[in-house]
Amino acid sequence: MPEPAMTAPLVLCIVLPLLGALFATALPGRAVAVGIVTALVTAAAAVALTLAVWEQGTLHLVLGGWEPALAIALRADGIATALVLMANLVALGISVYASGYFQDAIRIRSFWPLWLLLWAALNGLFLAGDLFNLYVMLELLGISAAALGALTGNREAIAANLRYLLVGLLGSITYLLGVAFLYTAHGSLDIGILAAAIAANEQLFAVDAAAMTLMISGLALKAALFPLHFWLPPAHANAPAPVSAALSALVVKAAFYLILRLWLDVFAPVTGMAAAMLLALLGSAAVLWGSWRALRAARLKLLAAYSTVAQIGYLFLFLPLLVATPEGPARDNLLAALLLMAVTHGFAKAGFFLAAGLVQTNAGHDRIDELGGTAQRLPATTFAIALAGSALIGLPPSGSFIGKWLLMQQAIATGQWWWVVVILAGTALAAAYVFRVLSRAFGLEPTPLRFITDPRAEVPALVLALVSVAVLGLASGPLWTLLGLSGADA
């Protein structure tokens, strides 16, 4: 058992935003101040957690002294911590941006409690150690996300987010049925205990496989895996910009994280090449279809939303390669590349949406064909879009360049070269949709005097985009260390 000082951040990551949500509700007049303070301390807790995991490896904590089945079990391993760190830094950027984004009092009062609640659910989801707490967090996340998305208040936003809410509910109920199956078969909900039980009881394969199918289908709906992505573009495109950023960069990622967690930890003995191939095929379809629709999108935020569909698709391409690659440095690299892609997309997409929101506020609309002048008036924001865009394309130096490089390397090495074709097509399409926007930024409009005009809105977008490119693209080695992977030269 690690000392309390080490495990404290584990609890704080969830409790702090929850407390913040309470205070923001109780003190609506000071919601912004409460929100910013909470964002700062929560992000600090996430950094502390990262340092603790960096030094100690995986952390476990069982709250309240109950036995694992009933207690709330928390656990932070490398994968969870990497995502927590990404999510909390991104959420901090979104909070700074949001503090200047909302103008009327009603929206400010509604935004902050919901946003902090979502943040707590997100951290809870990444850190939960048992399947039922995961379910609760999943629901909390879905409900707060849908409520936030509808804050825009117009008809499209409400309709899209209502659909998002209902679809999300369907997904989590399906997941819960899978959980019921697992509990029936193995009598536990703890991830570690279940993993051992599933590995030990091969005669229960049918139940386990059914549970896996239910749980992963439910989560695939929430992760918007093609063809279950239909709800995502309208919901993400119509939400307020900071919410779009959170939905696309973080919330969808949380559902994918759960799939990955189940795939790697719980169902490892049940997963096979057939299931992996199916998911990767759907992922390929997502890459191609999402990128194509992004290219055809008339509006900037819709483009970004379809791009999310495509980017989630890439993550599923890793599964058959993970199955085909034996334990060793090559598999380590593959796993790290998968996390790198997910983390990079988190930073890049958040930066993209925040920048797109500013363009929208300035232009009064976000129709791509008419954005030229605005893009040229806001050089820092256009720059953020360009940086985030190159991370979405996978151009060097960006985390996704390294991710795609390792992905293609392993695809060739395992003889599954067809994924390379998918990646190339997706990359070319991504370049086309990103530069479709950027090419409008070079017009004949008057020159802006300064690089940055509105620091509170422009700096978070720029910093997030820059992280996805410069930090993750040039120094991703620490991710391997955090994940506890050697990944020596494969």
Partner: protein, 94 residues
Amino acid sequence: MTAQLLYGGAGLMLFVLGIWSFLVHEPLLRKVIALNITGAGVFHVLIAVAYRGDAAPPDPVPHALVLTGIVVAVSATALALILGARLQDSDDDA
């Protein structure tokens, strides 16, 4: 044992019926009700799982799950209905 199977099987049927209804019917209210039925199906399964014979007390874990699940389902339903009402309002305004 038979009662348990019956109860669990009925739960599964509710689940399937709920999903079918959710996919087929357009009106919001029906979708919300369908989701609740789907959820109820899962809760049935969990309650059946908790049964450990007439002599032994039932397993508390699935019961806890069901209670939490109901709370979640109620709040989600409430939010869905509010959003639905807003939608209705904006349609009336238009």
